[in-house]
């Protein structure tokens, strides 16, 4: 410690010892109480059935049967215990460990699920279907958020993910129909996404136009163009231009029969497999290769990169373009996997959710992937719960993904730090 030779003589008014923020312990405590009271004591008395394996699976696992009220009380007490632990840590002046809010969230969501299912007209859902469906819905989000990661890591904010998804979706449908091959459609979608991205790159990097504005304008532009072509070209000539057919599901023998994990990992279309590969490749590339080191340097401190002989603007241009191609593939999933035709604005704001996912995932490909899965889960829950008939109005269910987004981006899971030069154009000198 340093010396203080002229220590203050007057009585010192010591500040209270530093405490970490109350935010986490407090919110966990409140949520736990809500869960205990509403899901537990006031919970429904039906028993919720959660099926783990489907009828056709090679390995049959019995379904989970959870009585609504008792399950709610037990889960509520478990949540309270976790909240109490967090509060205890806070009184000791320590922060809650990172796993705690995550574990809490998982149990809370499970309790919520039990409550909703047990209160439904038909109190049974398939967990396997729920998870597999979440992954399917998350695929475009994952591609979109990977695109965002690539762009922001290199210092360009990509608000145009929505436009890239939409451009990819439209081009995939059009080209797949005209060539008769969804695979060619997939490649064309990548090209379309890259083209949208190049516009963003040229305007924001070369002409230094505000990146947010270019991105927003591009979204509107792509929506307008695809909407126009859809109306004039696809609607009157559906057979010729808008019947792309689907990408085949390619199950991997044996592995795809594993309960829950099988359908998620080993029963996907080529786009699904590509997603897993892309997450791994982007992560490895960013953090383990020369390319990644340079990309991150450009996004954090472009001037430093420049003084070491790295071409900042070229690096940015090609990364943004690559990001666009990836988002384009994500767009193709809408028209080649989920539904087999294009409709106006089919991406429906998923690009913005992808943007939220990349922030929630802290600009890390794996984080963005996990965040996208969470949003995918929210989307899927909404539709499944609609089917089984819950007491909760469907409008509220439709709000779910966006609520999750707001909480996630508001920094519920700690502060995240964006790349320092993200959004700032680089001008030499």
């Amino acid at each position: 410690m340093s010396a203080t030779s002229t220590a203050p003589k007057s009585g010192s008014t010591a500040l209270p010892a530093f405490r970490p923020s109350m935010k986490v312990p407090l919110s966990l405590g409140i949520l736990a109480l809500i869960a205990l009271v509403f899901f537990g004591f006031l919970g429904p008395d039906q028993t919720a059935e959660m099926k783990i394996s489907d009828a056709g699976d090679a390995v049959a696992v019995p379904a989970l049967m959870i009585p609504g009220q008792v399950g709610g009380v037990v889960l509520g007490i478990l949540l309270l215990a976790m909240a109490a632990y967090s509060i205890y840590l806070w009184t000791q002046g320590e922060r809650s460990p990172k796993w705690l809010p995550i574990a809490f969230a998982v149990v809370f969501v499970f309790a919520l699920l039990v409550w909703i299912v047990a209160g439904a007209r038909q109190p049974s859902i398939s967990l396997a279907g729920l998870v597999a469906g979440s992954v399917t819905l998350a695929v475009p989000l994952v591609f979109g958020s990977l695109s965002g990661v690539l762009c922001e890591r290199v210092g360009v904010v990509n608000i145009a993910i929505e436009g890239q998804l939409l451009g990819g979706a439209f081009t995939a449908a059009l080209v797949a129909t005209m060539t008769g091959s969804p695979y060619i459609g997939l490649i064309a979608a990548a090209a379309a996404g890259a083209a949208v991205s190049m516009v963003l790159a040229v305007f924001s990097i070369k002409y230094l136009v505000n990146q947010i504005i270019v991105g927003v304008v591009l979204n509107v532009l792509v929506s307008g163009i695809t909407g126009f072509l859809y109306g004039t070209l696809m609607v009157p000539n559906k057979e010729q231009f808008n019947t792309p057919g689907r990408l085949d599901i390619l199950p991997i023998p044996l592995l795809s029969d594993i309960p829950i994990i099988g359908p998620i990992l080993f029963e996907q279309s080529i786009a699904g497999y590509l997603m897993y590969i892309a997450v791994a490749v982007v992560w490895f590339g960013l953090f383990k290769t020369r390319w990644g080191l340079r990309v991150r340097a450009v996004g954090e401190h472009p001037q430093a990169a420049d003084t070491l002989g790295i071409n900042v603007n070229a690096t940015r241009f090609w990364n943004v373009t690559l990001g666009g191609a990836i988002a384009g593939i994500g767009g193709a999933v809408f028209t080649l996997v989920t539904i087999d035709s294009f409709t106006k604005d089919i991406s429906g704001g998923r690009g913005f959710i992808a943007l939220a996912a990349l922030i929630f995932g802290r600009w890390n490909p794996i984080g963005a992937f996990l965040a996208s899965l969470l949003f995918g889960f929210a989307y899927n829950l909404q539709s499944i719960l609609g089917i089984i008939g819950t007491p909760v109005p469907s409008q509220f269910m439709a709000m779910l993904p966006y609520l999750v987004t707001i909480f996630a981006v508001a920094g519920l899971v700690g502060k995240s730090r964006p790349p320092a030069a993200s959004g700032i154009p680089y001008v030499k000198g």
């Binding site: 340093s2 010396a3 030779s5 991150r296």
Partner: protein, 508 residues
């Protein structure tokens, strides 16, 4: 590998119609420390950026070992054996030392996969050779500036630089760190590396240079031997005779009217950035606060002004408590405040000089009546101040942001000194200001003392502190190391700036 001789022939660099460098000739012999001396804005950094390939020269030639070369970018310069340590470090804060050193010249295995281990080994080797004590796995943002600078030097050495350009390397260092850097430079020279040392600090230049080239307004004024006197060198820099000493009369302190007691400022992360500081200033006395940048000076002055949160303790002026008052009331109590960064806090760049001169009085007579402003009075005031403070501006209506640093600072100083003051606080009053203006600004500060105002100067330039102070307070990590009288030896002050008490030992 042989050593490199570097020659610049007739280098000019124009930005629009403005010539930052004009027809500059410079020969850096191998194994020498060649100093470029000049004021801020003289064109030293521009010249080095040309040499390093960051700028393309408008005219002229660069010769390496008598062969003309063209640098299309820093990559070319590095390949020719030129390395540069920039004034503002070119390090990625969230990268490790090894990642920063590797960047741009990454050792890779198959397929571009990084093999950072090689870089770490090299860093350890160089570290050992020069006694750098740098951990290759430390995050750069966690390192003190002195160590960050060594990382920059390692970056150049790993690339086998034969000519090392150091751009104002001592600006961010304590006196002790500066001495260490000068030693490192001598060691490098002994190892055959030539060094181009850019500085405006005469003492360092004289201590370490083999040859001194003086640059003024983008042109070479001439060469000087390191034996030239400081006054000679300063006169060459400014272009007219300057007196380096202020020759101020001894202070005649009267009543103590400004008292700070146990002032503490807590930062968002829970640490005390200002920690229990107590001092007082008498009327007609200058207290200079010394310390390396970032040891709580900013927070201290801002706490007094009332723009910091989480402040405890007591600040009284003429017996009145200032803590807790709105900034406007603090200013109305007679506090004049020159903030440390004039471009951010001191001026509104796009506003005219005249408007900037009344930023604190615009709502009062004679500049306003009711809800209306009186532009004629504002202009009249501006003309008087421009005259009085010798502000070099095309007109009172010119945007303040277009003036040179020295003249911008004069605008801020003129505004703050235009009210009757009970306390005058100036942070970094002459940072980035030319030698001629420094002389003027210092005289104004002393004049304010002599009319009987308590004056508090915060400066990271030890020369300035010694020049102005009647008493010197030294800050280290938010704590007051001690208050010592003017005339305390530099070495003692230097040690205090590193946290060692004035009695010669750490006493806790």
């Amino acid at each position: 590998m042989g050593v490199v001789k570097l020659e610049l022939k007739g280098i000019s660099k124009a930005f629009g119609t403005f010539y930052a460098n004009q027809d500059i000739d410079l020969v850096v012999e191998s194994g020498q420390i060649h100093c470029l001396l000049g004021e801020n804005g003289a064109g030293k950094s521009t010249l080095m950026n040309v040499l390093y390939g960051l700028y393309e020269p408008t005219a002229g030639q660069i010769l390496v070992d008598d062969k003309p070369v063209t640098f299309r970018g820093p990559g070319d310069a590095m390949a020719a054996g030129i390395g540069m340590v920039h004034q503002h470090f070119m390090l990625v804060p969230v990268f490790t030392v090894a990642e920063n050193v590797a960047l741009g010249a990454e050792p890779t295995s198959f397929g571009g996969v990084l093999s950072i281990e090689e870089t770490r080994k090299k860093i350890r080797e160089i570290s050992k050779k020069y006694g750098f004590d740098v951990d290759p796995d430390a995050l750069v943002e966690d390192l003190p500036v002195g160590v960050q600078q060594r990382v920059e030097i390692i970056k150049a050495l790993v690339r086998e630089a034969k000519v090392l350009i150091l751009d104002e390397p001592t600006a961010v260092l304590t006196p002790q760190e500066t001495d260490e850097l000068l030693d490192i430079m001598r060691q490098l020279r002994a190892g055959g590396t030539s060094i181009v040392f850019i500085s405006h600090k005469l003492r360092e230049v004289k201590a370490v240079s083999d040859v001194i080239t003086v640059i003024r307004r983008g042109k070479v004024v001439g060469d000087a031997p390191p034996t030239a006197s400081a006054t000679e060198l300063a006169s060459m820099m400014v272009g007219r005779p300057v007196s380096l000493s202020l020759n101020k009369a001894p202070a005649q302190p009267k009543e103590t009217t400004f008292v700070v007691e146990n002032l503490t400022v807590r930062a968002a992360n829970g640490t005390n950035v200002v920690d229990g500081i107590s001092f007082d200033i008498a009327q007609g006395e200058i207290l200079a606060v010394a310390g390396v940048q970032g040891n709580g000076q900013t927070e201290l002055t801002e706490a007094i002004l009332g723009v910091q949160e989480h402040v405890t303790g007591s600040v009284t002026l003429d017996g009145k408590q200032l803590l807790g008052l709105p900034v406007k009331d603090v200013l109305r109590s007679g506090v004049g405040f020159v903030p440390e960064d004039r471009t951010v806090d001191g001026l509104v760049g796009p506003f005219s000089v005249a408007e900037n001169l009344v930023l604190d009085l615009y709502d009062q007579a004679p500049f306003a009546s009711g809800i209306g402003m009186k532009p004629a009075k504002v202009t009249e005031n501006a003309k008087a101040k421009i005259e009085e403070f010798d502000i070099r501006t095309p007109s009172a209506g010119s945007a303040a942001g277009t003036l040179s640093g020295g003249n911008q600072q004069k605008v801020v100083m003129a505004r703050e000194l235009s009210r009757p003051l009970r306390l005058f606080i100036a942070s970094q009053p002459t940072r980035g200001v030319d030698v001629g203006s420094i002389e003027f600004l210092h005289k104004r500060i002393v004049a304010e003392r002599d009319v009987g105002t308590p004056v508090m100067i915060v400066s990271t330039e030890l020369d300035e502190v010694i020049e102005l102070a009647d008493r010197i307070a030294v800050l280290y990590k938010g704590k007051l190391v001690g208050i010592v009288p003017a005339g305390t030896p530099r070495d003692t002050l230097g040690l205090m700036m590193a946290g060692v008490g004035p009695e010669g030992g750490s006493d806790d």
